[in-house]
């Protein structure tokens, strides 16, 4: 199908076919990206004249204690959610791989949370973790423990956010691991069995190494997603009218990087600083993704 002469005009239908994406991206992706870079060096509230700020926004960002708090929050929440979640996903995947019946049913149930509205999910968790009357506290009191002010404490807020993220994505990751397990041939396991390896040994020495590419994929995706957490804290503290709903709740314990970006850009109309934060977030996400990718890629040789 390749033309003998590579005259670009002969290929106009192909260029027409790929152009919608590139036109849309030029207008709504590339141009904003450049505009964003320009904005980060200026001060603008959307109404007053734009003034040049040089590196001031970035200098302020590096010194900004609230931004630092948001970075630390985001990393803590991400670790609390991702590490236990991926281990649970791996366990669920091997269980799914060893059951014979109801596999399709289990797969649909595992998938369901990840296709559910995040707003509805957060509202649900807000209700059951309610400081006074939430079901979680009622259960704790019923078994003789005292209730916890879940939505008030530095660590408890992070636990609630991590639980929400785990609930939504544990099954999704399990499905991906399960797909990886399906690709491992049964002969490898037969051989391990003949060599006298127990189930735990088999899991660590065969399953995990062979799943490495899939594990790297899930770690990278979870890192990118976790570093950009926004809707969970935004909705969780959305009805907290006493303070700015976008400040991450009591003590700003749920203030994530992207939530802080949203607050600065769209509550304070601080567009220039918002753009600087966006570039800061981008740099942190890139570095974190790279580190995680290197660690998981090296962990098992």
């Amino acid at each position: 199908m390749t033309g003998a002469r590579r005259n670009p005009l002969r290929f106009w239908p192909q260029y027409v076919a790929v152009s919608p994406f590139f036109l849309l991206f030029a207008a709504f992706g590339l141009f904003p990206l450049a505009f964003s870079a320009w904005l980060a060096f200026h001060r603008w509230d959307g109404i007053s004249p734009v003034t040049f700020a040089g590196f001031d926004q970035f200098r302020f960002l590096v010194a900004d204690a609230t931004f630092r708090k948001a970075v630390v929050n985001t990393i803590i929440i991400w670790i609390m959610a991702t590490v236990p979640m991926l281990f649970m996903s791996l366990g669920l995947a091997s269980m799914l791989n060893s059951v014979k019946r109801f596999r399709t049913l289990y797969q649909v149930i595992l998938f369901l949370p990840s296709v559910t509205s995040i707003v509805a999910v957060v509202i649900f968790f807000k209700a059951i973790f309610d400081n006074q009357v939430g079901v979680v506290n009622q259960v704790l009191e019923a078994i003789g423990l005292s209730g916890v002010q879940w939505l008030n404490g530095y660590w408890t807020i992070k636990i609630v956010l991590a639980v929400i993220m785990t609930w939504q994505w544990v099954g999704y990751n399990a499905i991906i691991y399960y797909a990886g397990l399906q690709a491992i041939s049964g002969e490898v396991y037969e051989a391990a069995k003949l060599d006298g390896a127990g189930p735990l040994r088999t899991f660590w020495s065969i399953t995990v190494p062979l799943l490495r590419p899939v594990i790297i994929f899930t770690v990278v995706v979870s890192t990118i997603g976790g570093m950009q957490t926004f809707a969970e804290p935004q909705v969780l503290f959305g009805s907290n009218a006493s303070i700015n709903p976008n400040s991450g709740g009591p003590g700003q314990a749920g203030l994530t990087m992207v939530l802080y970006f949203y607050q600065q850009a769209f509550n304070n109309n601080n567009y220039g600083y918002g753009a600087a934060i966006a570039y800061g977030v981008f740099a942190i996400v890139a570095v974190f993704t790279l580190i995680n990718w290197r660690i998981t890629a090296r962990a098992e040789k």
């Binding site: 207008a27 649909v108 595992l110 998938f111 649900f124 009622q138 959305g238 753009a275 981008f282």
Partner: protein, 296 residues
Amino acid sequence: MAAHDTATVDRKGPSRPAPVQKGKSVRNAAKWAHLPMVVASLLLLFPFYWTVVMATNTNADYYATPPKVVPGTHLLENIASVLTSINFFGSMANTAIVAVSVTVLVLFFDSLAAFAFAKYDFPAKKFLFGLMLAFFMVPAQLSTVPQFITMINIGWVGTLQALIVPAAANAFGIFWMRQYISTSIPDEILDAAVMDGCGFFRQYFLVVLPVIRPGLAFLGIYTFVQAWNDYVWPLIVLINPDMLTLQVALSQLNVSRGTDYAVVMAGAVLAIIPLIVVFLAFSKQFVADSVKGAVR
């Protein structure tokens, strides 16, 4: 593929003879694996059940000790409160318009571009494809502020096209459909179509489109779910209270009726039901194709 196999196994059900070569211990292990699967399933399903329980009882019941554990009879009055608090049907209609338009446009633009990338060789193709993948990695919030300013300048703030147009084609879909087309359409069929005088677009409509329906089904439901659940961008760009999408309207309900859990949960149930219906209707296809896509 694996998921299709398991689907067949499930349909055969319990009458299927156990594999002879496996020992007794293996079969017992398989049986025991159901226990954690059932526990996990219950934990994952519990929020859906509890949302229904809260949506069908009164707010006072929510504060009762011990907590109510079975659905009540107050769903209709809770729904009535939802309808007076937010413009529910309006925002539902907005969400449906956005999700359907985005899905149709994405399916058309992405599969057309994917066809060109999969089956044709044209100057700068590798560069364009690489460029597309590079764009794919750029995080969304980098362009949020300027995109909002752009929308102000072209007068699209508060309109649905602000949600539809920027989402009308995407790198993920092109990438996924390219994989699908290159494995599912043999070059011979296309050569035959060329012999019959079919140009690029007639090949797309007459040969490619009918064959890639299953691939489009997966991309379609994926795109629909994403568009239906999108939250951040609609929250920023839809400022007029009459023009919200469902997710934003639901978060407004959470703000205004925050402690009336019965009403807020009724809203959540109403917002999730259409999505769950769509998901369950296509779930087998969706799960199977996600599994395939994940290990590619």
